[in-house]
């Protein structure tokens, strides 16, 4: 029991000692504990950080590869596209070149050939020039012909005048008016008069004048009527000695144009006479005077030679031509002739007469 008491007395001291010793140890323990924890946490931190950075590294690598892969794919796509575009551009350019050539060719050959047009226009202008030349020549030729015709007419006129004035020719005794002795050369008219043949005094033109009067008036397309020429009396000559009548009167009487009577001038049967005239003219031209008979009158061309049987000494038998029936009046029953029951043909009723009007003179 003493121990107990001692213990009890010490208990509080022990309790205090126990508490103080524990607490001091505790403090140490806590300190050490805290320190241990700090170390451990720092270590853990390091480890985890190392692990994290490792993870980062690895993740970066993966991402790096993946991104590279994606990028390469994209790049290939782009390259492909670019390549296609480049090819298409090239094709387009070449196609444009081909089309350009083709279009030019087509237009030039089929639609509008510029050179052909130029050639054509040149040809047209050449033709024009040729035509112009030809027409000029033609006009000149016409002019020349007209001039020639005019000259010829003048010549003829002068010739005619010379023929009319032939009596003005100079003779050995008397020089003519164109051959004056005071001239060196005779006038050209003198030479013309020498060459001219004198006209005939009687001119047949006068007779035709009256006949052609009316028809001339109608056939003339102009309003001018033909001049009526008269015969003039010759120029004054010396009066013949003797009891002669006035020369003008005599010549008037002598050259008075014929005045036929009305019957002669305008016969009533002028139409008939004209027909006769026409027939005479045609008869003149005929080679063969026999009229051409049509075939229906062919038998008239030949002379009919009768059979010897049907002709007798005194001429042809009337049987066979005049009558065709052998008649025996004694055998007749009644004395009337046959009746025609059927009407005869119109064609045969004209037997013996002409069937056509050819050959009939109107």
């Amino acid at each position: 029991m003493a121990t107990l008491a001692r213990l009890q007395a010490r208990s509080t001291f022990l309790a205090h000692q126990y508490y103080f010793r524990n607490s001091a140890v505790d403090v140490f323990r806590k300190k050490e504990y805290d320190a241990a924890i700090k170390i451990q946490s720092w270590f853990r931190g390091c480890r985890i950080r190392a692990y994290l950075s490792y993870l980062h590294r690895v993740a970066t690598v993966i991402q790096k590869c993946w991104r590279g892969y994606l990028g390469r794919q994209h790049y290939q796509l782009i390259v492909k596209l670019e390549f296609c575009t480049m090819k298409m551009n090239l094709y387009n350019a070449m196609a444009v070149r081909i089309q350009k050539r083709w279009r030019g060719y087509r237009i030039r050959k089929y639609c509008f050939n510029y050179f052909y047009l130029k050639e054509y226009l040149k040809a047209v202008s050449e033709t024009n020039d040729a035509i112009r030349e030809e027409l000029e020549e033609f006009a000149e030729m016409k002019e020349r012909e007209e001039k020639k015709a005019d000259l010829e007419r003048e010549e003829k006129k002068r010739d005619y005048q010379a023929r009319k004035m032939h009596y003005l020719l100079s003779t050995k005794q008397i020089p003519g008016i164109y051959n004056s002795p005071f001239r060196k050369d005779p006038d050209p008219w003198e030479l013309r008069l020498q060459k001219a043949k004198p006209l005939r005094s009687q001119r047949p033109k006068v007779k035709q004048k009256r006949d052609v009067n009316i028809s001339n008036r109608l056939a003339c397309t102009s309003a001018r009527s033909l001049p009526q020429s008269e015969i003039l009396p010759p120029i004054d000559r010396k009066q013949c000695q003797g009891p002669f009548r006035d020369i003008t009167e005599v010549l008037e009487q002598r050259y008075k144009p014929l005045e036929p009577t009305l019957w002669m001038a305008e016969p009533i049967n002028e139409l008939k006479m004209a027909r006769e005239e026409l027939r005479k003219q045609e008869w003149m031209r005929n080679i063969n005077d026999n009229m051409f008979l049509p075939f229906s009158s062919y038998h008239k061309n030949k002379k009919y030679i009768p059979l010897m049987h049907s002709s007798s000494k005194y001429g042809p038998n009337s049987y066979g031509s005049q009558h065709f029936r052998d008649e025996n009046p004694k055998k007749w029953i009644c004395d009337k002739d046959f009746q025609t029951v059927l009407p005869s043909f119109d064609l045969f009723s004209k037997y013996g007469k002409l069937y056509s009007k050819a050959g009939q003179i109107i």
């Binding site: 047009l117 054509y120 226009l121 047209v124 202008s125 033709t127 024009n128 020039d129 040729a130 035509i131 112009r132 027409l135 033609f138 006009a139 016409k142 009316i214 028809s215 008036r217 109608l218 056939a219 397309t221 305008e266 009533i268 002028e270 139409l271 004209a274």
Partner: protein
């Protein structure tokens, strides 16, 4: 008239003929006298005795019919009504050329008035006989027959076809070479009346090988031959581009241009119109017309002719030439015709027709013209409606050419 009528029935033939001649001369002078002849019932008597009498009477009676028929369609109808056409056609078969000529002349005058009378003449069977008359040797008869055929065929295509069916074209084409100028007039007129109706008829006329012989007629001394020849060429050229091409290929354009240069007044008109028609078909033909030196000639016509309708035709022809491409417009503008056209358009004395045609010509040429020196005068004195075209043209030229002078002038 009452005195002359019984003389027609006189016994003596000369009195009949002279009475008929007197009636003819009366009727010829005046339309009223012709009506009096018709009213006096003389025509049936004439027609009746035409069939039987001699040739002088026939000539005189045909002369009366012609004199009556020429004044008006009603008188011609009266002649047709009394049955004169058949007797006239019988006269056409007569031997005497004078009778044929008188009958053909009467028929021609009757057919001249309108299409019904022409048809009546054709129905009476006159056309084959007229074609036979053309082949006769007498020149006067040929002339009259050609003129009658021309009068018949001018009214309608059917009548022209009737004339062609009888084979008239070949004979008419042969007679172009005849030296007589009055005959040539009638023949060319007949051919142009036939050719004007349709393309087929024109082609038939061309097939008769009239080119290039017709071009010699353009050089004839007689003015009317030239006029009729250019009318014929115009009628052929106006139908299709192929026919115009044919005419250009044979050098017709040059001949017509020379012909225009050598005559004055109305004679020129068909030639001018022909150039217009040829140029109107296509631009190649217009270029061919330009190459044949027609444009200076046309501008000369435009300036020196006094009459408005000829000026109008020349303006129209220039418009047709210049309207196709800038080349053509340049060719027209170079000859300084645009100011003349403008003055014609602006002048108050010009007729309506002339003003319209010159305005159209100016517009159509300006729309294609890129030739600046010709456009410049227009800026100064053109009226506003033309000025807007000019300014438009200038802007086009400036954009296209980008030339300094053009820009400066524009500003």
């Amino acid at each position: 008239m009452s005195l002359l009528r019984p003389l027609l029935l006189d016994v003596v033939p000369t009195i009949q003929q002279t009475a008929a001649l007197a009636l003819g001369r009366l009727a010829n002078y005046n339309g009223d006298l012709a009506e009096a002849v018709v009213k006096g019932d003389i025509l049936p008597q004439l027609v009746y005795s035409l069939a039987e009498q001699n040739r002088f009477y026939k000539k005189a009676a045909a002369f009366v019919l012609r004199a009556v028929g020429k004044h008006s369609p009603q008188l011609a109808q009266a002649i047709v009504d009394c049955g004169a056409l058949d007797t006239l056609v019988i006269c056409l078969e007569d031997f005497d050329p004078g009778v044929k000529e008188a009958a053909a002349w009467a028929l021609g005058y009757i057919a001249r008035h309108n299409a019904e009378l022409s048809q009546a003449v054709v129905d009476a069977g006159a056309v084959p006989l007229l074609v036979l008359c053309i082949q006769e040797p007498e020149i006067a008869l040929k002339r009259i027959a050609a003129s009658a055929l021309s009068d018949i065929s001018k009214h309608s295509p059917e009548l022209a076809q009737t004339v062609v069916d009888v084979g008239a074209i070949a004979h008419l084409a042969q007679m172009i070479l005849n030296p007589d100028s009055k005959l040539k007039r009638q023949v060319l007129s007949a051919l142009s009346q036939i050719a004007k109706h349709s393309v087929d008829l024109a082609e038939m006329v061309v097939e008769a090988e009239i080119f290039p012989v017709v071009l010699t007629c353009l050089k004839d001394k007689d003015d009317y031959v030239k006029k009729n020849a250019s009318t014929l060429i115009r009628e052929i050229a106006k139908h299709t581009p192929e026919l115009s091409q044919l005419i250009v290929n044979t050098g017709g354009v040059a001949a017509v241009t020379d012909c225009i240069g050598s005559c004055k007044g109305n004679i020129r008109l068909p030639g001018i119109m022909m150039l217009g028609y040829v140029a109107a078909h296509s631009e190649n033909l217009a270029m061919a017309v330009i190459v044949s030196k027609a444009v200076p000639q046309l501008s000369v016509c435009l300036s020196e002719e006094p009459e408005d309708h000829i000026k109008a035709a020349a303006a129209w022809a220039l418009g047709q030439i210049g309207r196709h491409t800038p080349e053509h417009a340049r060719a027209v503008a170079v000859t300084n015709t645009l100011p003349v056209l403008l003055s014609l358009y602006m002048s108050t004395e010009s007729s309506e027709d002339l003003q319209t045609k010159s305005k159209k010509a100016i517009k159509s040429i300006l729309q294609k013209c890129t030739y600046l020196p010709a456009l410049e005068p227009f800026l100064y004195d053109a009226p506003p409606n033309i000025l807007k075209h000019v300014v438009g043209q200038f802007s086009k030229v400036r954009d296209a050419l980008f030339s300094e002078s053009g820009g400066r002038t524009f500003q």
